[in-house]
């Protein structure tokens, strides 16, 4: 089980909370910013966005949380030409890798269409879409409608500044070096909520 230390920042409400020693499923934190449960796990039936160097860790934490609570499959859509690969041995500490299906999309459009289809279907609990190109407002809205119809959560992992305004929340995720912790393998994260509808 991975221990995730979190530093959660809400830019819109000018508040921040230091979260320490979160056991991924149960979050414990020092100072109450507001209830973390109101943020995480994210709202179902909507699509969200995450960017930043730790966006993948964010996606895996979310997937692990949903995988445990719903016992359904996660669909991970990646672009077939991307050189970076997710490593099942690496994310097996978040959730069992057999819960994840991988879809290799050859084009940006295929990735979006696959995501829409999967979101609408409802037999999947979370659709993670790795993208390298910006999403337009129309596409974002279509994903949003599909997620609502299938009551599924969607998460777009994309480079900074490429999201669409249709997203429910947008998170900037970055890892933070934890100098105080003596244990090796620190996992302190800083998750900033940039946008919250």
């Amino acid at each position: 089980m991975i221990v995730l230390c979190l530093h959660l920042v809400d830019k819109q409400h000018n508040s921040s909370g230091k979260l320490t020693e979160c056991n991924d499923a149960v979050f414990v934190y020092d100072r109450v910013m507001s209830n973390l449960d109101s943020y995480f796990p994210l709202q179902n039936g909507r699509t969200h966005e995450a960017y930043g160097p730790a966006a993948h860790a964010f996606a895996f934490s979310l997937a692990g949380h949903l995988c445990r609570s719903t016992d359904k499959t996660i669909l991970w859509i990646r672009q077939a030409w991307a050189s970076e690969h997710i490593n099942p041995v690496g994310f097996s500490q978040y959730f069992p890798p057999q819960c994840l299906l991988l879809a290799q999309a050859n084009t940006h459009l295929d990735a979006l269409a696959t995501a829409e289809e999967a979101l609408r279907d409802g037999s999947i609990t979370l659709v993670v879409i790795e993208l390298s190109q910006p999403i337009g407002l129309t596409e974002g809205r279509r994903l949003q409608l599909a997620a609502k119809e299938g009551n599924t959560m969607g998460l777009c992992v994309l480079p900074e500044g490429m999201g669409s305004n249709a997203a429910q929340t947008r998170w900037c995720c970055s890892p933070v070096f934890n100098a105080t912790s003596q244990a090796t393998g620190s996992t302190l994260q800083r998750w900033e909520i940039i946008k919250n509808k």
């Binding site: 995730l4 730790a54 490593n87 099942p88 295929d110 037999s123 070096f177 393998g185």
Partner: protein, 364 residues
Amino acid sequence: MRHRLKRAGLDGRIAAADTRGAAWALSHYGGKAHKLGNQDEDITSLPVAALRLNTKVDTALQRLGLRKISDLAALPRKTIARRFGPEVLLRLDQAIGEKNENISPLKDAPHYGVRMTLPDPIGLHTDVMAGTERLLIRLCDKLKTQYMGARMLQLSLRRVDQGTQQVELRLAVPMRDAARMLPLFERGVSEVDAGYGIDQIRLEAIQVEPLPHEQITYNTTARPEGLDDLITRIGNRIGLDNIQRFLPADSHIPERSFQIASAAYSDPEEIWPGTRPRPLRIFTPESIAGGGPQPPVQFRWRRMSLTTGRATGPERIAPEWWLSDDTWHTGIRDYWHIETREGRRLWLFYTPQKPGWFVHGEFA
């Protein structure tokens, strides 16, 4: 037949006779010059090996001086049976035609295709779907009697102007449930250009797999049907092989510690080996500047200047010498888990046999 074989570049020997045994004998030992019809003389002058006997019996007969079938036939039957067993007599009788020999030809493979010809051309989407439904029900009944399930279906729509439109459907699991299969055709049929109308619909199962009835018990884990249908639908857009799942593999090489298999043709495996922490993402190793076996204090990676905050390692991984792998030609690797002061946690390795530092992956 001989001409056709010759055209194909094959040298064939053909014989026709009243019995199967005689035909075999003539074609194998008769030479080319025999005439059709007078098989009795022909066959008796052939060597005993022409009776489809095994080599041991054949040699034993030859040692006794019984070279031709006529020699054998002249002997009293009792002696032959006592000496060589019933097989020789059986073969002899079969060749001469005193005992009949059953021929069991191979069965034709059942054809899983149905079609419907329409008196008036149709063009509406709903009409085509209704036609497809009727064909599907017929096809599924046929599949059911053979205990088969369709894996790949092809719907051919012939238009009035003789043009043919085809809709292919590859399924994530073998299926023979018409009600479940029909909605999967929706997308393909909607893309068809009906032109002046369609007057014939053909539906064929191109690939079929055995699909026996399953016993349902209290501990049967129901396969999520919705998920299979979703895989089929997505697979028909991006290719069924592009929907994949991870399977564990027995290797300590990070890139080979898992396999990627097509989700439609594999089953999930539950046991994943617990190893030392591995990065969430791996990529092709990217070279960075650094010298010596100790991890660099400062380095540049992807145009970022990073400072090592904490380094854990090394963990030595040796290449698998029994497999040739170009990416591992630099020999053994010493892996380090580097936590940078800037936050990013990287997986670096040093190659002592060919000094150099590389970034191979990124942790959470």
